[in-house]
Symmetry: C2
Subunit: 253 residues, 2 copies
């Protein structure tokens, strides 16, 4: 079997389902190991087949070799190559509108990166931005953890994040670094700008100094407990929720 | 080597560190496989040793047998048996104060359960409440995912969650189910009661019908994206953050 390139593979039942539901044209073919007992999976497979998308039988061993992971849940999909935007292209698309972009700095853990992409998509961020040189890239594991959101949300994948921060600022964005430092503002009383670039770093590494310096504001979540930090995707969900809250709630403005 | 009971074991470098920092008296002994290269782990071990807590050499194989997992990161700890409260005992402790309690219904995935415990502790929930009959219990994997929070936050572990909901209500709590149904209120404009029992269910199973029925309010997070739900621990973090926000922010009241 000729294996599709790994950067065009997604895996896992939820990821394949979400992409089929929301971006079916991204699917080139689905690789599937039919289970002995017919279950929930088969309904999805039948629907995919009905749309004329090829279903290719694959053993779990082939799925493992394809995806480089044993978390494929007996299903993977070959997707069309992703479109990556640069900051200029993205700014051209949003025109004069309010916008929230999540920037992920030094997120090396694929599950954290996937979770961040999922929460950004769910909570209506307009794009996720990361550096291909510092942190995880979109692998089958990331696509799975993102629940397929990696195939749905606009992707700004660049080399130099610090330069990107400045480009966003030139485009009218506030660059808001999520970190506790002198001058950090309390997330619960923070007034977001309509255009916000929210920058989060990994739990171990944090946000690179160069990027911190360029950010024009910083924000922290007051922790009442003894353990002093949420997981990065929990923190990002809370911060993105507070942004959404401010712009939809009658209390927030 | 005589192995400590599994329900008194935690594992993973972060979990052991947090328990050592915030609840050192919970540690009976630390099992540790010294790495070839001295690194970050050894500093922690030295500090633990200084406090008179025994460090016991263990191979990775022994750590695997002890914890039932290969994610131990070469370290585990035998902790004192946990104290579990029932609802009445908990209500006696909080006296007349405002209070947030997170109730986890049918959370079978240990990582999700651990993440929920972690975010509840970080965001200042006064306890986590779950049923020992329906969902994960605290295992070494859960303790690791909770980053040690399972040893720090008060634990309300009971048999019947539906009865517990009523007991909380009798204690002056609003029981708020996180789910989208007729009459669910928008989380972003929701006015929390000072005493809130926030009930979350698993992604697959949701909240049991009996518990939904007893809840006196329900709340949903408006999703702007195409994928229609956050991971349960991301959603819980956002909802607990909105509770905290309401009671600390000048805007919220």
């Amino acid at each position: 079997m000729k294996l599709p390139p790994k950067d065009q593979l997604i895996m896992g039942i939820h990821a394949v389902r979400e992409v089929f539901l929301h971006a079916p044209r991204r699917l080139i073919a689905v690789y599937y190991n039919e289970p002995q007992k017919q279950g929930r999976k088969s309904e999805l497979i039948a629907s995919i087949e009905k749309e004329g998308i090829p279903i290719i039988a694959a053993s779990n061993d082939e799925l493992y070799r394809m995806t480089g992971s044993d978390s494929h849940q007996s299903i993977a999909a070959h997707v069309k190559g992703r479109t990556f935007l640069n900051v200029g292209q993205f700014l051209g698309q949003i025109d004069g509108k309010p916008s929230l972009v999540l920037m992920a700095d030094q997120i090396f853990d694929p599950q954290n990166f996937g979770s961040l992409i999922r929460s950004a998509e769910c909570l209506g961020a307009d794009a996720i931005c990361w550096s291909k040189n510092r942190g995880a890239d979109i692998t089958p594991t990331v696509a799975k953890s993102s629940c397929g959101a990696s195939e749905i949300i606009p992707l700004i994948r660049i080399s130099n994040l610090a330069e990107a921060v400045s480009e966003f600022q030139d485009g009218g964005f506030d660059a808001v670094a999520a970190l506790l430092e002198k001058g950090s503002e309390n997330a619960f009383t923070f007034q977001f700008s309509e255009r916000t670039l929210l920058i989060v770093g990994s739990e171990g590494e944090g946000i690179q100094p160069l990027i911190r310096k360029r950010a024009n504001r910083s924000i922290f979540i007051p922790m009442k407990g003894k353990i002093d930090s949420l997981n990065v995707s929990q923190a990002a969900s809370l911060l993105m929720g507070l942004y959404q809250r401010q712009f939809i709630s009658p209390l927030g403005k």
